[in-house]
C-alpha cells in the first residue's frame, strides 16, 4: 500500500514529444543522429538502474523458480522444470492466501473510492478553516505502516482497547477485532481505509478544482439544485480521475502486505494472510526461494490479467463516452 508513488503524467509527456522532432527537420541528418545519441546518454543512468534492479531480478527470479533453489545456497543446480508451478497450483495455502488478497481488494476498494469522493466534496465546499479538513483527511497517509499498525492494534485491543472499552461501557459485548476469524479482515480494511484514503482524497480534490466554476453558475441560473449539479456536472467531469483512482487502488490493494503482517501476522489461524505474506514466509522463513519465486510469477500473472481486463473495460467505456 505504501509503495504507491507518483501518478502518470501522460498528457504532459505527450505535449512535449513534438518539440523533440523539430531540430531534426531543421538541421538535417547528422544532428538527428547526434541528438538521438545524446537522448540515449541522458536515459542511460536510469536504464542501468532499471536493468539492474528490475529486468535482471525478473529474469533471475524466473530462473530460480525452475530450481529447488534455497536461501542457504543449496539446490541451485537441482533443476525441477515446472514442478514448483505445479506445486503452486496444488497448494491449498496458496489459493486461500490468494483469496484473502482478493477479499481484501473487494472490501477495501469501494470505501476507498466512494468515501474519498465524499470527503473531497465536503472539503471542497467554502467553509471556514478549509485547510484543516484537508489536512485532517490527508494526514494519516503520511504515517508509516508500523505506526499505523501500532495505533490500531491498541484501539482494537480486547479488555481495555478504545473501541471495546466503549462497547463494554454502554453495555454491549466485546468484539475480538483482530482475534475473531470473521471480523479480523474487516478490522484490517477499516484501518487501511483510515490510513490510505488521503491519497485518493487529494486526487479527487485536484480533480474538483479543475472543474470550471462557470458551469456551476450556469446550472444554478437554470435552477439546478446542489444534488443535480453533483450528479450531472461533478461526477461526469471527474470520470477520468475516478478511472485513475480505481486502477491505482485495485493494484495497491492487491499488493497488501505490511499492515496485515504487522497487525495480525496473517492470523487468527491464517484467516487474513495475504498471498505476499505466504510468498515471504516460504522464501524467507522456510528458505524455499525457488518455490516462492514460482508463486510470485503465478501472482504476477493474476495481476497482469486484472490490469489488462481493467484497461480493456475502462478503455472501451471511454471510447463510448467520446464517440
Amino acid at each position: 500500500m505504501a509503495t504507491r508513488v507518483g501518478t502518470p503524467a501522460v498528457p504532459a509527456a505527450r505535449e512535449r514529444t513534438p518539440g523533440r522532432a523539430a531540430p531534426v527537420g531543421r538541421a538535417g541528418q547528422t544532428t538527428g543522429w547526434r541528438s538521438d545519441l545524446a537522448g540515449f546518454a541522458f536515459v542511460l543512468p536510469f536504464l542501468i538502474a532499471y536493468s539492474l534492479f528490475l529486468i535482471w531480478p525478473v529474469i533471475q527470479g524466473f530462473r530460480m523458480s525452475l530450481f529447488n533453489w534455497s536461501l542457504t545456497g543449496s539446490g541451485t543446480t537441482d533443476f525441477m522444470g515446472f514442478d514448483n508451478y505445479q506445486e503452486t497450483l496444488e497448494d491449498p495455502n496458496f489459493w486461500s492466501s490468494i483469496w484473502h488478497t482478493i477479499l481484501f481488494t473487494l472490501l477495501s476498494t469501494p470505501p476507498l473510492v466512494i468515501l474519498s469522493l465524499l470527503f473531497a466534496l465536503l472539503a471542497n465546499r467554502a467553509v471556514p478553516a478549509r485547510w484543516l479538513y484537508r489536512l485532517a483527511f490527508f494526514s494519516p497517509y503520511l504515517l508509516p505502516s508500523s505506526v499505523v499498525a501500532l495505533i490500531w492494534v491498541w484501539i482494537y485491543q480486547p479488555g481495555f482497547g478504545l473501541i471495546n472499552g466503549y462497547l463494554t461501557r454502554i453495555g454491549l459485548g466485546e468484539v475480538g477485532w483482530l482475534s475473531d476469524v470473521s471480523v479480523a479482515m474487516i478490522s484490517v480494511v477499516i484501518t487501511t481505509v483510515w490510513w490510505t484514503i488521503g491519497f485518493n482524497f487529494v486526487l479527487y480534490l485536484a480533480g474538483l478544482q479543475e472543474i470550471p466554476r462557470d458551469i456551476y453558475e450556469a446550472a444554478a441560473l437554470d435552477g439546478a439544485t446542489g444534488l443535480e449539479q453533483v450528479r450531472s456536472i461533478t461526477l461526469p467531469m471527474l470520470a477520468r480521475t475516478t478511472t485513475l483512482i480505481l486502477i491505482l487502488q485495485v493494484l495497491a490493494s492487491l499488493k497488501v502486505f505490511d499492515q496485515i503482517f504487522l497487525m495480525t501476522n496473517g492470523g487468527p489461524n491464517f484467516s487474513t494472510r495475504p498471498v505476499i505474506q505466504y510468498i515471504y514466509e516460504q522464501g524467507f522463513t522456510t528458505y524455499r526461494v525457488g518455490y516462492a519465486s514460482a508463486m510470485s510469477y503465478a501472482f504476477f500473472l493474476l495481476i497482469l490479467v486484472v490490469s489488462l481486463g481493467q484497461f480493456a473495460l475502462l478503455g472501451r467505456r471511454r471510447e463510448r463516452a467520446n464517440g
Partner: protein
Amino acid sequence: MAVAPGRGRPQESTVSRRRFVQGAAALAAGAGLAANAPRAARAEGRELRFWNLFGGGDGARLQEMQAAFSAANPDIDLNAVTFAWGPPYYTKLAMSAVGGRPPAVGVLHASRLPSYAPAGLLEPLDPAVLTQYDIGPDKFLPAVWEGMQFEGQPYAIPLDIHPFIMYFNTDVCQQAGLLGPDGTLLPLQGPDAVIDAFRRAQAVTGNLGLAYETNGVAPWRLFSGLYAQLGGTILSPDGEQLTIDDAKAEQVLSFMADLTVGSKVASPNQDGPASVAMFSNASAGFHLNGGWEVTTFETEGIPFSAVPFPNVFGTNQTWADSHVFVLPKQPDDDQGRLDASLRFISFMLKDSLTWAQGGHIPSYLPVATGPEFAGLEPQSNYAAAAETPVYDPRAWFSGAAAPLQEEAGAAFGAVLNGQKSPREGISQYRAAMEDLLDTPEPI
C-alpha cells in the same frame, strides 16, 4: 547580437562544472581520509563482529556485558549489531553465511540449530580447543549440552535456558488463600487443582484468573510442555516421521480450551502485550510466559513471584529454549578471529549473572550454582524448571518462529478462541505437519 549572451552562458557553466568536479573529487578524498583516520588510530584492536536479536529488556543487559568485555579486552574492537527478532534476523544470518560475509559470532535459539548446523551454515567446534576457554560438558547440565551436539560434534555454546514458567501475584494469591505460611505458593498438582487455583484468583481480581496470550506462538509453548508431561512426542528423533498421539494431544487441548471457554478463567482473545499488561495491573492472579518478562514486572513494581510450570499431568516438564552462541561458517581460516570469538563467548558465560537479572536462567553451571544466583529473586525460585526442559522437536522446519511453531500457534490458538474443537485443532496441526514433512528439504 542576441546570440552572444546565450553562447556565453554555456561556457560559464562548463567552467563551473569543471570546478564542481574538482571540488567534488577533493571532497571525496577528504571524506576518505576522515573515514580512515579513526580506523588507523585503533589499528591494533582486532575487530570482532557479533550479531544478536536482543531488542527488548535483555538487550540493555547485553550491552552492559559487552561494555564490561570491551573494558577488560582493549585489544578486541567489539562491533555488535542487534537485528529484529525472528525471521528477519534468521534470514540475515543465514544469508550472510552463504554470502561469505558472516559475523565472527552470532546468537541462535537452540531450537534453530537443526536448520543451521546440517545446512553447513555453522562452524563445528573442537572440544579440545573449547576446554582452553573453560567451556566443556562439565560446565553445563547434560540435557542442555546434549542439545548443542550434531553428529557427535558441538556446534553451539548455550548462554541461558529460558523455560515457560508461572508468574503469580502474591497479594492476589494471599487473599485467595493460595499461599503457605512462608509466603510461597502452595504446590498445585493435577488439572483440577490448577484450574481451581485460577478460579480462586479470578474471584479476587474480579476479572481474570490467568493472563495468557492466545495468539502468536504462545499456545505452542503451553501445549508443548503439557503434551510432554503426558509422554507425547511430535516427531521421531530423526525428524522424519510424525508421531503425534491424537488421544494425548486432545487431552491437552481440552484442558487448554477449558481455561478459556470452559471455566473461563482466562480470556479467549488476548495478545502478548495485553496479557502482560493484565498481569501488570493486577487484573489477573497468574500469568504464563517465559522468564524474560521478570524485568517488566519489576519495573511495574507489582508484588509477584514465579515458580516452575505446575505439574498438571504427572511431571513438571515445561517448554524451554536456549540462547546459544554460534560461529557462522567463515570463508577463511583465521586463528586470531577464533581466539577472539571464544574469549568473547567465555567472558559472556562468566558474566551471565548480569544476563540472569533479566529473567533467563544461566546455563553456565559455575554461575548457575553460585551463591549470587541463589540470592536472585524470583529467578532462583523457578531455576528448577531448567532441569525438566522440553525443547522443540528436531527438524529443518522447527525452532523459534519457524513453521512448526507458527502452525501450532494458529491451530491451537483457534482452539483457545473456541473457534475449533480440540479434535479439529489437532487434525489441522497434523495436516500441516504432514505437508511440511512432504516438502523437499531446502537445506
